[in-house]
Symmetry: C2
Subunit: 359 residues, 2 copies
């Protein structure tokens, strides 16, 4: 006869076992009907589903908006996923939060970024009760530094080169025994960004194609992994500035190549595909379409004027793509009547902008 | 014994009679519990309710958005009624449509305006199958003329003075046997603009005060007539640029006065209260609060930056008001924890603006 304590232990074990079994069954049901998962990627559709559940309390479920004027211009129905309304003003909070919630206990978060990921990681760290260290080039605008510091992160300045950035981040990670969160190539970031597609496909049952701006490939990577599993017929089109066309040229060549260090008004998209995002872009993204600087500026101003949404030019790249001749020719409205466009962010230096506007 | 045909007729009559009775009862119920209506205004709460039903198929029910960042700055909960997403980019389509739907059969619509009302009237005319004639000062920006012409209205240019405007509009009205729709003083326009409050109070049950930009007074007039009847304890605050403070000074003096012809970045609010809007503002609006040009610019940029909404400076006036010292002092957050702000429009010369931005 077992003792009272042994009885309690056995009962607790039995309860825990049953609960675990239920969790496994629920998880399986959530993912059924089982479809073959792509096996050669560091991120799976299940990771995106898990990320969606994980980040849900921390991020906004952003609305999908439409605009008659844009539909007329495009000659089809456009659905805009408004990550411009996301916390910190871009989708980046999704991946940063997903990574923060899985980082080793008490480890400070470390990253290098001068853009939206820096703010996102800083807020994700604050939300999850961690320290954050952000390496930024010493040329980063004061307004961006202030935003990052406003979320309580500590900034380390470095020379404005990719090598200096990576080196400084590595050093800082070692120094603080931190957890490094790459802005786009980190698998937990990729699956976090994929939650954009998780929501978008729930919100719109009728999408024929999805247009997603491409920088480091974290956003389109996570989206493609999830969306191609959930709805295999959906076309996934990457939109990239012609000035920084590494994804386009990599797809053309069939291998990962860089781009000349040219500039683009879409400053969020100047980063390069990485070891984890490139295989996804290679195998699951149907096509990359490039747009030039004036197309980007016009499309950005169009969304401001017609939809009254303050998008940043990186988001304008997706809009320019869907309005481009190349897109219309390859994906005609008759065959693709409904196209989703991710308005990925809205962070501009508006203090400067409004001074110019009202000057 | 009635014939088959007679039976059918009697049955149809009975059905129609019952349906009519139900309609009447429903309508009555919609307005009950009956409250005393203000009797000395050309617009009644019932007019606003009728307008809401009348314009419903023609206008958007605009969303109410919130923003944590703005709540923190304001120290209370702010609810933003986004007329910036309205058709033609401002609330003006509500009043114009309400007038168009009640104009004499086949009469062309005539107005004078260089701003949002011009576009709204042009679209309202097109939607209701009428001609539209718009008198604009010859100094009006080409982009505004193009927008009005884009909706199919005919433009008559005049000298840029109020007298020349009114004269040209009267002449045109006689010439085409038209129906003149004043931008703010026309009762059907006032009741149409009041539908903003009809929706807003349906969408937010917990408003303690409503802040509304004041130009000619059509918007705040319609809102005050409806809201003070529907929810008498709700405070209605007008927000006006200090540079064009005729409503403020009229309230102070207790009689309708003009303002010096100074300029304001909030160009939509440079018009004057009229014979129909002044009594409403005098009796039903709790207070007018004025804000200076730099407050308006800052508040406008704040909404761009934090909410990612491209509002025009006239809408920024309401935001500046709710953030002002005067508002905080008179309507402290403890007593007025939830305040509604009407973001009345988002029409800017964005072609020019984006050129400046991306220069």
């Amino acid at each position: 006869m077992p003792s009272k304590a042994q009885q309690r232990y056995l009962l607790a074990s039995a309860v825990a076992g049953v609960a675990a079994a239920i969790r496994i069954i629920r998880r399986r049901n959530m993912h059924t009907p089982p479809k073959p998962l792509p096996s050669n990627f560091p991120v799976t559709p299940a990771d995106v589903v898990d990320a969606a559940n994980r980040v849900k309390p921390h991020v906004h479920r952003t609305p999908v908006l439409t605009c008659n004027g844009l539909d007329e211009l495009a000659g089809r129905s456009l659905k805009f996923k408004c990550e411009v309304f996301q916390r910190t003003g871009s989708f980046k909070i999704r991946g940063a939060t997903n990574a923060a919630l899985q980082a080793p206990e008490n480890a400070p978060l470390v990253t290098h970024s001068s853009g939206n990921h820096a703010q996102a990681l800083a807020l994700a760290a604050r939300s999850t009760g961690r320290e954050a260290h952000v390496v930024m080039p010493r040329t980063a605008p004061a307004v961006k530094r202030a935003a990052v510091e406003g979320y309580g992160a500590q900034i380390t300045l470095c020379e404005p080169t990719n090598a200096a950035r990576a080196e400084a981040a590595q050093k800082k990670t070692e120094e603080v025994a931190g957890y490094f969160v790459h802005p786009s190539n980190e698998p937990r970031v990729i699956s976090g960004q994929g939650t954009v597609a998780y929501e978008f496909l729930e919100q719109c049952a009728d999408l024929d194609a999805l247009v997603v701006p491409v920088g480091g490939g974290g956003l389109i990577g996570g989206i493609a992994v999830y969306a191609k599993w959930k709805r295999p017929s959906l076309k996934i089109i990457g939109a990239e500035p012609a000035n920084v066309d590494d994804a386009y040229r990599s797809k053309q060549k069939g291998e990962l190549v860089g781009h000349d260090d040219r500039d683009s008004v879409a400053d969020g998209l100047k980063t390069l595909l990485g070891s984890n995002t490139w295989p996804i872009v290679r195998d699951l993204v149907d096509e990359i379409i490039i747009v030039d600087e004036s197309e980007i500026k016009n499309a950005t101003a169009l969304i401001w004027g017609r939809m009254k949404l303050c998008i940043e030019p990186s988001a304008g790249v997706g809009v320019a793509c869907v309005l481009s001749e190349a897109f219309r020719a390859k994906y005609p409205a008759e065959a693709y009547p409904t196209v989703g466009v991710v308005l990925c962010g809205g962070n501009l230096d508006l203090a400067k902008a409004s001074q110019k506007l009202f000057a």
